[in-house]
């Protein structure tokens, strides 16, 4: 029932007076479409945010737009070769993605794994994580391309609720002034490279670790570069195996990880110094494969002192807790690598001190960037998506303005409380394992062995990482 019918109730003079007030505001708001939510950045986390908002019943009818600077990633057929960039998706992230995208992912390709073994190069200490009796999956290894393609497919099917614009680079943001009734437009204004200007009540910045949204807002960010790069590749195993274990070994130069992709192939993530990474890229295939195998199997970094101390400690612990601990397994050996799959990228840590501003929220790597050693980067982002979606849905059901600070503050508080301890832990791990010095090695050896013997503690760790 339109407002004009309401007005017909009233006397005309009053009506005329009220209409003139309306017109002033109307004219200034004609300029550009006003969206309810614009998400800037169509990577894994940005696309997941768009999907998640589009599927929310309380947000039905809202105008949602996803802006992606790159091309649309369509995948009609899953390519034969695996791609190098993969992520470890925790069960709760899988739940989030089960807004339709997870089905596409499982149809295409993903590899669940049931156990994770982490051990030290400088000692015998090791720790294994698994769910009880290896019944359930711990997590899934999925190629990043597949995640994005599945989300894109899902977005295609909900084009009524969510619009997506590809090849739309943002060149400028204009921020609204906080709540005072000036004659200015109260929305965030987004100017694209093609000259179009859009307005939105809420801008979600999902534009990666070098986020333009974060930069333009001037949000102070704690960040540093690790002097490390990660080398990624697709490995062919020597022989087919029930490949459901993720392996990670801490070398003094950095952790090397082998993540299962299929029964015959695994993904390599080797974090090491910039120089070593470049050398690795230059090696021919055979030498590279040798380097990988030796990194996983070689014991030259172990000193006698540590070995003795380690086995003594382990002996003591096993008399106290005879049933705890787990046998050491050896990772599969590598025979070759996939063609043209060796890539390297620099590693760093970053954390935005604020995740939100008036009418803006940051999610994913734009808010926090971590070392890949714990496989948590994507999961933290998906956690942001789940939290923000739930808060926006509740706000919409209460008739609130989506860009209002109240629920954005709740998002920031909840996610910082979760993300910060995780990031600190990951950074600590990285520093702890970056050294050869005997006291530190001793400390971490004993610590790791003790943790391995405490199933309750390990369960807590898994639970925290899967949240």
């Amino acid at each position: 029932m339109r407002a004009t019918e309401l007005w017909s109730w009233t006397s005309h003079s009053r009506f005329a007076r009220s209409l003139s007030h309306m017109n002033r505001g109307l004219v200034s708001a004609e300029h550009g479409d006003v969206y309810d939510v614009i998400i800037s950045g169509g990577g894994m986390v940005g696309s997941a945010m768009a999907c998640s908002l589009g599927m929310e019943p309380n947000l039905a009818g809202k105008k949602i737009l996803l802006l992606e600077a790159g091309n649309k990633k369509v995948m009609d057929r899953v390519p034969e070769a695996y791609s190098t960039r993969v992520s470890s998706i925790s069960p709760s992230s899988a739940t989030l993605l089960s807004i339709g995208a997870w089905e596409h992912i499982t149809e295409m390709r993903c590899k669940p794994y049931k156990r994770m073994q982490v051990w030290d190069a400088c000692s015998d200490a090791l720790i294994t994580f698994d769910k009880e009796n290896l019944q359930e999956e711990m997590a899934y290894i999925v190629e990043n391309d597949i995640v994005v393609a599945s989300l894109t497919k899902q977005l295609d099917s909900m084009s009524d609720n969510v619009q997506v614009e590809y090849r739309s680079k943002v060149v400028k943001y204009r921020w609204p002034r906080p709540h005072h009734m000036a004659e200015s437009i109260p929305w965030v204004q987004v100017t694209l490279a093609n000259g179009k200007t859009l307005q939105t009540k809420l801008l979600i910045g999902a534009d990666g670790p070098n986020s333009m949204v974060r930069r333009e807002l001037g949000i102070p960010t704690v960040k540093w570069n690790y002097d490390q790069s990660a080398v990624v590749a697709v490995l062919h195993l020597s022989e087919p195996t029930e490949n459901n274990v993720a392996w990670q070994r801490f070398l003094p130069t950095g952790p090397i990880a082998m993540l299962p992709l299929s029964d015959t192939e695994s993904s390599l993530v080797w974090s090491t110094s910039h120089q070593h990474a470049e050398e690795l890229l230059e090696l021919d295939e055979e030498s590279f494969v040798d380097a990988i195998n030796s990194a996983f199997w070689n014991n030259e970094n172990q000193s006698e002192l540590i070995e003795t101390a380690g086995s003594l400690f382990r002996g003591t612990l096993s008399t106290m807790m005879p049933s705890a601990g787990s046998p050491r397994q050896l990772p599969p050996s590598v025979a070759g690598i996939g063609p043209k799959t060796r890539v390297m990228f620099p590693l760093g840590m970053g954390h935005a001190s604020e995740y939100i501003r008036h009418r803006v929220a940051l999610i994913g790597d734009a808010a926090h960037r971590v070392h890949p050693l714990a496989g948590q980067g994507a999961n933290l982002g998906f956690g942001d998506v789940a939290c923000l979606t739930q808060l926006l849905s509740q706000a919409a059901f209460n008739g609130k303005d989506l860009g209002a600070m109240q629920h954005l503050l709740e998002y920031e508080t909840e996610r910082q409380r979760h993300n910060l301890p995780m990031m600190v832990a990951i950074d600590l791990m990285k520093r702890l394992y970056s050294t050869n010095s005997v006291p530190v090695v001793l400390l971490r050896t004993l610590g790791l062995q003790a943790t391995n013997m405490l199933p309750a503690l390990k369960e807590q760790i898994i639970a925290f990482a899967s949240k």
Binding site: A3, L6, T10, R14, S18, R24, V34, G61, G399
Partner: protein, 328 residues
């Protein structure tokens, strides 16, 4: 209530000025009551000139000067902004009980709501966002201007929210003149933080009944008349902490839930539930509570066709599921 800054503006028929003693005000009120009861009994006709002479010019002036501050969420009206966390779900859930939601995302679509004493539109806009067609009225023109300007930027609200500078009486009188059909009346009337500024509640109740459809809902939030509300709402808030400007509230105008219920029932309403509200000045948030000693919210229903209302004695749906504080 101690942190309620400046309350809602007047709505018709306010007592003439604040400098009277309590006894004088009581006498005045009794006079008004008798007079208006007489009017209510006789046929309501448009020769009762409603208009500006019944509105207290001091109050209007005070609210006019604050008109630009309505939308500053941390400013004078912060507590009213925060109160939306309680009153929007209260209205929404009670209306959803009667009118099943058909549009996901717009649960109140198709409903017409009147927001009496809307001020800057703090409550009008959320109701509009939930899909209802809302008319906000307020005698203070500057507030209406502020409300219209704020709503005009949002294309979502432009079609659904309208404002008018008038009093409930004037609106109701207009309706009587044109003899509008039942379909043009409202599904719900909301009078939040308004009733404590009126001296003549009889006329208010009468007008509400007149503009509501049969079976329509009336939502009121206001302050109880107790020693506690005097101590906290007037002494602490106004005189000690100066959270609310001195003289904003007149304790005499507060009304207890029992009296309000009696009044509404005498006009044919059936009170569905009453629930206490509590403000926490430290956190700046409101919560539901069992005690109606200070603030409370009330939901009443106009019966269909002057028979017994068909929704008798339902439990009051509100987010926290507390037992309704009762009308004994």
């Amino acid at each position: 209530m101690y942190c309620r800054k400046v309350g809602r503006p007047l709505l018709g028929l306010c007592g003439p000025g604040r400098s009277y003693s309590r006894a004088a005000v009581c006498r005045q009120r009794a006079l008004w009551l008798r007079r208006s009861q007489h009017q209510a009994l006789s046929r309501h006709n448009s020769t009762r000139s409603p208009s500006q002479s019944t509105v207290d010019p001091d109050e209007v002036k005070r609210f006019q000067s604050l008109a630009s501050k309505w939308w500053d969420e941390q400013g004078e009206f912060a507590a009213l902004h925060a109160m939306n966390d309680l009153r929007v779900p209260f209205i929404r859930d009670n209306l959803l009980n009667v009118h099943r939601a058909h549009h996901p995302g717009k649960p109140l679509a198709g409903l017409r709501i009147l927001d009496v004493g809307c001020g800057g539109g703090l409550l009008t806009e959320p109701l509009g966002r939930l899909g209802a067609n809302v008319l906000g009225i307020d005698p203070v023109e500057n507030s209406i201007g502020t409300a219209q300007l704020h709503a005009s930027y949002d294309p979502d609200l432009r079609d659904r929210v309208a404002y008018q500078a008038c009093t409930l009486e004037e609106l109701s009188a207009d309706g009587a003149e044109e003899q509008e059909p039942v379909a043009d009346r409202f599904d719900a009337v909301v009078a939040s933080e308004v009733v404590e500024h009126l001296a003549d509640l009889e006329t208010f109740a009468f007008c509400c009944s007149h503009v509501l459809k049969p079976g329509g809902s009336l939502f009121i939030t206001t302050i109880n008349k107790t020693n506690l509300s005097y101590a906290l709402g007037i002494v602490v808030a106004e005189q000690l902490l100066h959270i609310v400007p001195s003289g904003t509230h007149d304790w005499e105008k507060f009304i207890s839930p029992v009296d309000l219920e009696r009044l509404l029932e005498s006009h044919g309403f059936s009170v569905q539930c009453v629930q206490g509200m509590l403000y926490n000045p430290v956190s700046g948030g409101w919560s539901w509570t069992n005690s109606t000693a200070i603030n409370y919210a009330l939901h009443a229903v106009k019966p269909r066709d002057s028979l017994q209302p068909d929704r008798a004695e339902e439990s009051c749906p509100h987010p926290e599921d507390h037992a309704a504080a009762t009308h004994s």
